[in-house]
Symmetry: C2
Subunit: 224 residues, 2 copies
C-alpha cells in the first residue's frame, strides 16, 4: 500500500505518456495509464511493466483504464495528447479533475511545420487548458522539452524540466514529481510563461534535425 | 591589420553590449562601440580596454562612435538596446545596414512584469526588426539568454547561444561569431522561432529571482 498520490497519465500510450508512467511507477507512485480504449491502455501497461522488470523487482502498481475513468480514479492527472486533441480531451475529463492537480504537457505543434514556433492566439497551450478547465482545476504545465525517447528509456535523464502554474503550491508539488524521476525541476512562473517552453520545443526539433539527436535543455548558473 | 570583419555594437554601453564588444575584441575583431553620445561610447571603450588588459597584451582594436556612424563604419552590426527603443534605433540606422548582417538581441521585456512572458503581436522582437528593416538587411536574432554579467566577465561562458534567421548563410556566420567567444552557438530556425528564446528570458529572470543567480541554458543530448 502506497501513501504516495495516484497519478493518471491520460492519453498515456504515446511516447511521452509512456515515459511519464514508467518513471512515476518506478518512483513508487500508483500509476493509471489512460487511453481511449481499455485494450490500448492494457497493452501500454504490459510494455511498461516488461521494461521496468529489467530494472527492478520491487512491487509496481500500474493499471489500465479508459481516459475518463483514469482521471476520476487518480489524485493527480497528467495529460499527454497531441495539440489537436487537447481541448476536447480536457472537456471530456473536466468534471473528474475539479480540485485536482492537472499536469498539461501539450505543445502547440501545428503540422506540417512542427519546427516552426506557432503559438496559439491564447498565448500558450497551458492558457488554453486553463480556459477550458476553469479556476477550480489546479492547472500546471510541464515536460515540454523532455525528449520522450530519453524519458521512456531507463537511462538517467540529461535534461531539466520547467514547471509553470498560477497555483504556487501545485507548481511545487509538480517540481517534486520531476525530482522523483531523478531530474531537476524549476518553477518558471505562471501559466503564461509556459509559452517559452512550448515554443522552445519547435527550436529543439529544428536542432534535432540538423544534429540527428534528441536535444533537451539544462539551466546553468544555478550554483550546482 | 585584421582581416576579420569589423563589428559595431550599437547601444553598446549597457551590460549586454559591453560584454559582446569585450568578447569580440578579445577574439581579434575590430570593434566599434556605439552610443547616443561619443562621450558615453568613449567611456565604455575605456572600461572595456581596462578590463581586457587584465587578460591580454595583444593589440586590441576598439573605438567609440555615435550609433549611426558606428553602423555605417562596420561590416556587421549588433543592436543591444531595450525593447522600448528598438524600433526607433533600427529606423535611425536602417540606411547604413543595407546588405549587412544585423544581429538583433532585443528581448520584449515590458515593465513592470519582466518575469512574465509578454510577446508582441508581431510574434517576436526579431520579427519587428525584420519589419522595420525590410528584406535588404540580413537580420539575425541571438544572445537573448546570455547572462550579461557572465558575458562581460572574463570567465568562460557557461551557456549556449541560440541563433535565428531566415538567411541561413547569415545565421551560420553569427554561429561562428558565438564560437569565437568560446561558447556554443546553435541555429534554431527562422526569425519566428526567436520567440522561444525571447520568451525564455522572462523564465530565466523568474528563476534568477528564486535562486539568486544568473541562469543561462545549455542544450543537452547533442552528442558531446
Amino acid at each position: 500500500m502506497s501513501t504516495k498520490p495516484t497519478i493518471a497519465v491520460v492519453g498515456g500510450t504515446g511516447a511521452l505518456g509512456t515515459g511519464l508512467a514508467l518513471r512515476w511507477a518506478l518512483a513508487g507512485h500508483p500509476v493509471i495509464v489512460g487511453s481511449r480504449t481499455l485494450e490500448n491502455a492494457q497493452k501500454s501497461c504490459e510494455a511498461i511493466l516488461a521494461k521496468l522488470r529489467q530494472k527492478t523487482q520491487s512491487p509496481l502498481d500500474l493499471k489500465p483504464m479508459v481516459n475518463d475513468q483514469a482521471a476520476k480514479a487518480a489524485d493527480i492527472v497528467a495529460v499527454t495528447v497531441p495539440f489537436a486533441q487537447q481541448a476536447e480531451l480536457l472537456r471530456s475529463i473536466q468534471s473528474h479533475v475539479i480540485g485536482k492537480i492537472l499536469i498539461d504537457t501539450t505543445v502547440p505543434l501545428m503540422l506540417p511545420k512542427v519546427g516552426t514556433v506557432q503559438l496559439p492566439p491564447e498565448g500558450s497551450a497551458a492558457q488554453i487548458a486553463r480556459e477550458v478547465l476553469g479556476e477550480s482545476v489546479r492547472v500546471v504545465s510541464a515536460f515540454h522539452n523532455v525528449a520522450a525517447d530519453s524519458l521512456a528509456s531507463l537511462d538517467d535523464m540529461d535534461c531539466d524540466v520547467l514547471v509553470f502554474s498560477d497555483d504556487k503550491q501545485a507548481r511545487d508539488e509538480v517540481v517534486g514529481l520531476v525530482e522523483v524521476m531523478g531530474a531537476r525541476g524549476f518553477a518558471g512562473g505562471g501559466l503564461s510563461n509556459s509559452a517559452a517552453a512550448e515554443a522552445l520545443t519547435s527550436v529543439l526539433i529544428t536542432v534535432n534535425r540538423q544534429y540527428k539527436c534528441h536535444a533537451g535543455i539544462r539551466l546553468t548558473g544555478i550554483g550546482d
